[in-house]
């Protein structure tokens, strides 16, 4: 793959576990937020985005986090169909073509590796 991002490599390198959506390649804070908003019911209402600054609990974001595996689930429901998945991405969170294809490649390669 030409020009894979660090995010992509990090994601594909290991099982995804409970990783956030935003750890998927092509999905940043914005798209993650949109996914969460679009977010069905499968969200965890737990504070995940916590920042520790000077050993102090500075910000506690009570964020509904859309797990990466839900996106993977959608990807699997769409039977790994590239076009459908990309369309779904664009539909659900207004992803751009590049973001959608990045996310698709990320999930696709992760599946090749770990599924």
């Amino acid at each position: 793959m030409a020009g894979t991002s660090q995010k992509y490599r990090n994601f594909v390198a290991e099982p995804m576990g409970d990783k956030d959506v935003t750890e998927l390649a092509g999905i940043g804070e914005t798209l993650g937020g949109r996914l969460t908003e679009a977010g069905f019911d499968k969200v965890r209402g737990v504070a995940r985005g916590t920042n520790f600054l000077n050993n102090k609990y500075v910000n506690v974001y009570c964020v509904n986090v859309f797990q990466a595996y839900t996106v993977l689930g959608q990807y699997l429901i769409l039977k790994k169909d590239e076009e459908l998945f990309k369309d779904w991405m664009k539909d659900v969170c207004n992803a751009s073509s590049k973001q959608a294809s990045d996310c698709y490649n990320c999930l696709n390669d992760w599946c090749e590796e770990f599924l």
Binding site: F40, Q74, I77, L78, K79, L84, D87, W88, D91, V92
Partner: protein, 445 residues
């Protein structure tokens, strides 16, 4: 429409059936995937406009880009040569610039000195240019003219030129014209008359010679005087650069005719406008515009260096300008100093025979490198005698601690650094060239 509206109310199972029916992938319909599948289904039901709408814009964009390129080449026919001429400028200017000096010099020296032609390997071009200058009676006078008044007809330009030449004030808007008026005020006036008489007819070379003798004398006076003129010319460079773009428009097709067979001239509209709009007579002033522009440029440089060189002989200054205009701004002038620094080196080598040849070589290389870096940093001042002093100073200072091994190693490190600087410089030059070439290829092809 009814079908489409029905899709929303269909159950997942029915929707899936519809999908399979219409050739969509057999995908389980869920709440999350339902939306896009309905979209897909609608797209297929309405004659698959979605897939078309996907593809058509791409094709359109491709088409548009192609068309826009063509239209751009038409509409921006003025602008493109602007970019092209500077990008090419380095090579063209050097080739054409040096000969124009030569041509002027040849004219000025009344062919008594044919020796002066082409100090650097541009003899062929210089002969062309000199032929041009001889062929065109206007070239001496009207070289400035087309730059300023290229858009006018030849008659208008020459008349305007005449008026301005008769005025021959410093307020002439264009540097080349100013230069010529300053250099050759007498001859120009007379040229105007001859010009009006024979625009196409080639004048007798003797007449030219007479005028050029005068011109040469006056140029000698002028080359010694003028710091203020340098400033003037510098200030006029912006104007000239603006007008140069116009020359680019006019001369691209012409340059192809005589000077650049290999240079691609893809802009047919330019040629059209030229061939349609202009008579053949205009071509001569265009050539002269070309040469005038180059001569302007080279003259500019010459004046810079001339000022810095102060009262050095014209040959020397001319050589320096040639090296300048070849674009080897930093490396070319170095040999001059290398020679001198080498001489100094040798003198000192005799004084210090205990040094090994290797150390001597190191010193020499280092001094060369120092002079190089100095010249590169000092830019145009390399030709000034101060630069020489600097190099000497560096030599001396670098020479004293030669006995210590530590300092020697340090010196070697300095040498390596100097080499590195050279490498960097060349790398920068190469990258600039590559970028220019890349831009050239991307934009124009």
């Amino acid at each position: 429409m009814s079908e489409i509206d029905n899709l929303e109310s269909l159950s997942n199972a029915d929707l899936r059936k519809q999908c399979i029916k219409h050739g969509l992938p057999n995908v389980p319909i869920t709440d999350s995937s339902r939306h896009i599948l309905i979209k897909k289904l609608r797209a297929t039901l309405s004659g698959s406009p979605a897939s078309q709408s996907k593809k058509t814009p791409r094709r359109e964009t491709i088409h548009v880009s192609k068309v826009s390129e063509v239209t751009d080449s038409k509409t921006d026919a003025k602008a493109e040569p602007e970019r092209r001429t500077p990008s090419r400028g380095a090579s063209r200017r050097t080739i054409a610039g040096t000969p124009t000096i030569d041509a002027q010099k040849v004219i000025e020296n009344v062919t008594t000195e044919n020796l002066t032609a082409a100090p650097i390997g541009s003899r062929r071009r210089s002969t062309i240019d000199s032929q041009k200058t001889i062929d065109n009676p206007q070239t001496e006078g009207p070289t400035p003219a087309p730059i300023g008044s290229r858009r006018r007809s030849t008659f208008e330009s020459q008349k305007a030129n005449e008026n301005q030449a008769i005025e021959s004030t410093l307020a002439a808007p264009i540097g080349a014209r100013r230069r010529s008026t300053q250099e050759i005020p007498l001859s120009q006036k007379e040229y105007k008359s001859s010009k009006n008489l024979n625009q196409i007819v080639i004048p007798e070379s003797d007449e030219e010679d007479n005028y050029l003798v005068i011109a040469a004398e006056q140029t000698e006076h002028f080359t010694k005087a003028p710091i203020t003129r340098e400033v003037d010319v510098r200030s006029s460079t912006s104007q000239s650069s603006i007008s140069l773009t116009k020359t680019g428009v006019v001369t691209t097709s012409y340059g192809k005719d005589f000077s650049k067979p290999s240079s691609q001239v893809p802009e047919f509209p330019i040629r059209k406008s030229l061939t349609e709009g202009l008579s053949h007579e205009i071509y001569k002033p265009q050539i002269s515009a070309n040469t005038g522009r180059y001569s302007l440029y080279s003259n500019l440089i010459q004046k810079n260096s001339g000022v810095s060189m102060e009262s050095s002989n014209p040959l020397h200054s001319r050589y320096s300008t040639n090296t300048l205009s070849t674009g080897m701004y930093t490396s070319k002038p170095a040999p001059q100093y290398n020679e001198q620094s080498d001489e100094n080196e040798e003198d000192k080598d005799y004084e210090t025979p205990f040094l090994s040849s290797f150390a001597r070589n190191l010193n020499r290389i280092k001094s060369d490198g120092v002079s190089l870096s100095k010249t590169s940093t000092s830019g145009f001042d390399y030709s000034s005698p101060r630069a020489l002093h600097r190099t000497k100073h560096h030599e001396i200072t670098g020479r004293r601690p030669a006995k210590d091994s530590v300092t020697e190693s340090f010196r070697q490190l300095l040498i390596a650094l100097d080499r590195k600087y050279n490498l960097r410089l060349y790398l920068v030059l190469a990258t600039v060239f590559l970028v220019l070439a890349f831009l050239y290829v991307v934009i124009y092809q």
